[in-house]
């Protein structure tokens, strides 16, 4: 096993008594781009929270290399997590700080360096994501895509060994989403040793960036393998997912409305 492989061993996870993931066994290979794929509410973000150590598993473990994340002592756990960068769904930028201050936060909090040097480091990564001109803007002055790119800049400023992205293209138009995919690919070219884990349900993104795919379904791992293997899989659910076909259970749209409601609605619409 490589030092920055991420392995789930019999991982079960949930919130209180509600179990979201059951008995997940998979390895996300170090130095590759892995995409965790699955329908809405299938536990992708929950799995990501376990890799970061923000939630504890109900049973089983998450191993980074050969280290079980949840049995490490506090100092070791912090040392491992320090090497992780996370892009949250909406960027999770601190509203009270400018973009440059947000991006520089990991450095300004942990390193004793002169301010101009830290700002220069922040501007460097902002340049990488094309946001240098917005360094002194605040998060609420930016679009969703820009906030995500800024979140990505903050995630990579400390040169992480594992970069985790939670739905980096959700809510973006196709052009901005494609740009985000390109950004992730070029990020991986820039840091080839970095393990990149992307949580997504965006098929275009999957095809653009994935080396390895883990598909979640009904709280379990439905598939783990390369993108080529996924495309060739005969599994009906995977084929349905990849072809964006609707589920078998047809929605019954033709429900007769209650006549009283219908009549009241008609009166209101005509008024």
């Amino acid at each position: 096993m490589r030092a920055w492989d991420i392995e789930f061993r019999a991982l079960s996870a949930g919130y209180g008594e509600h179990v979201v993931l059951r008995d997940i066994n998979a390895v996300l290979p170090g130095g590759k781009v892995s995409v965790i794929l699955g329908g809405s509410g299938c536990g992708k973000s929950t799995l990501l929270r376990h890799i970061i150590g923000l939630s504890r598993p109900l049973s089983g473990g998450v191993f980074i290399g050969d280290r079980d994340l949840f049995t490490l002592n506090r100092a070791e756990f912090r040392r491992v997590r320090r090497r992780m960068g996370v892009l949250f769904q909406d960027g999770a930028l601190l509203g009270a700080l400018s973009l440059a201050q947000n991006v520089a936060l990991p450095l300004s909090e942990h390193l004793r360096l002169p301010r101009p040097l830290i700002r220069e480091a922040a501007l460097r990564v902002l340049r990488m994501v094309g946001l240098e001109d917005f360094a002194d803007f605040y998060p609420n002055q930016l679009s969703g895509g820009m906030r995500k790119r800024a979140g990505l800049a903050r995630a990579i400023i400390a040169e992480p060994r594992v970069l985790l992205c939670d739905e980096p293209t959700s809510g973006l138009d196709p052009i901005t989403a494609a740009r985000m995919d390109e950004l992730l690919c070029s990020m991986h070219e820039q840091y080839p040793d970095m393990t990149l884990v992307v949580v997504s349900h965006d098929l275009a993104s999957l095809r653009a960036i994935a080396d390895y795919v883990l598909v979640l379904r009904d709280g379990g791992a439905a598939f783990a393998g390369s993108l080529t293997e996924l495309e060739a899989s005969p599994d009906p659910y995977l084929r349905q997912f990849l072809r964006r076909e609707a589920a078998d259970q047809r929605l019954t749209l033709h429900q007769p409305p209650n006549p009283t409601v219908r009549a009241a609605l008609d009166r209101w619409l005509a008024s």
């Binding site: 996370v86 949250f88 930028l93 509203g95 936060l105 990991p106 903050r154």
Partner: protein, 269 residues
């Protein structure tokens, strides 16, 4: 045969016990939260710049409302005090009545309640929004202690700002009493200030400060905690949870201020 101990016993005991246990649990969690926040004051490397920023928010931005409430409170005390004391022929005592009421009781309590509404609610809402938008998780992931970053500076700022604002409230209140008592109702100016100087002791002033420090800690800890654990609320999620957390923060703070005031007054008298 095995008996389920949890469900045995009369129903009313269970009904009584559950909220009691929940209350004890909440007090315990609150105390741990406060202690952790205070501990981080001594371990956090960059506490002072953030504390200054929070002093601006809690202290400076609340100054105007404290001045406003202080002057009207003093004026009302002067007015009420005058018409009560005049019945006993002792209007000369107005200075004592106004100053002692303000310094011992109304100053610390009203300042704390105003700061709860002005600064405490915004603390709860700001931290709550940070929680539901993953900003606190982001801090943790960046290995930045979110308690040290968010809570400790506010606690330290409150420890400094609450007594200062209370002192300002007291002084402005006494001036308010002067406006009504001396300028409007014609009490002798010398008698007003002489009575203040002769009746107010350092014990009164220190007692008022002790109260304001305790209130500052309580208000800040309650408001920060409500925001910090917004995501664990059982009654709501998302933005609604932030609203409920803010309401709870204000209500709990106000009740605790008055309860703590009674306890402290019992000890200080």
């Amino acid at each position: 045969m095995a008996v389920d101990q949890r469900n045995s016993g009369p129903g009313f005991l269970r009904l009584l016990g559950r909220p009691c246990l929940r209350g004890i649990d909440a007090v315990g969690n609150m105390t741990l939260f406060l202690l952790e926040g205070l501990r981080q004051i001594f371990t956090s490397a960059r506490i002072f710049p953030r504390t200054l920023q929070q002093m601006y928010v809690i202290g400076y931005k609340s100054l105007f409302v404290i001045l406003l409430i202080g002057i009207f409170c003093g004026m009302v005390l002067g007015l009420q005090g005058y018409y009560t004391l005049v019945q006993f022929g002792s209007v000369g005592m107005l200075g004592s009545a106004v100053s002692l009421t303000l310094i011992r009781e109304l100053g610390p309590v009203l300042t704390a309640i105003m700061l709860t509404g002005r600064a405490g609610s915004s603390m709860a809402a700001e931290i709550g929004v940070m929680r539901i938008t993953d900003q606190i998780d982001a801090l943790d992931v960046m290995d930045i202690n979110s308690m040290a970053y968010l809570v400790s500076p506010r606690l330290l700022a409150a420890l400094i700002s609450f007594p200062l604002l209370t002192a300002i409230f007291d002084v402005i209140g006494i001036i308010g009493g002067y406006l009504t008592g001396v300028l409007m109702l014609g009490i002798n100016e010398g008698a007003y200030f002489y009575r203040i100087a002769s009746s107010v002791t350092m014990t009164d002033v220190a007692g008022g400060f002790v109260k304001s420090v305790v209130f500052g800690l309580l208000v800040t800890a309650v408001c920060c905690r409500q925001g910090y654990y917004t995501h664990l609320r059982r009654d709501s999620v998302g933005p609604e949870a932030v609203g409920n957390a803010t309401t709870s923060a204000v209500v709990i703070s106000c009740v605790l201020i008055l309860a703590a005031d009674y306890v402290l007054t019992s000890f200080l008298l």
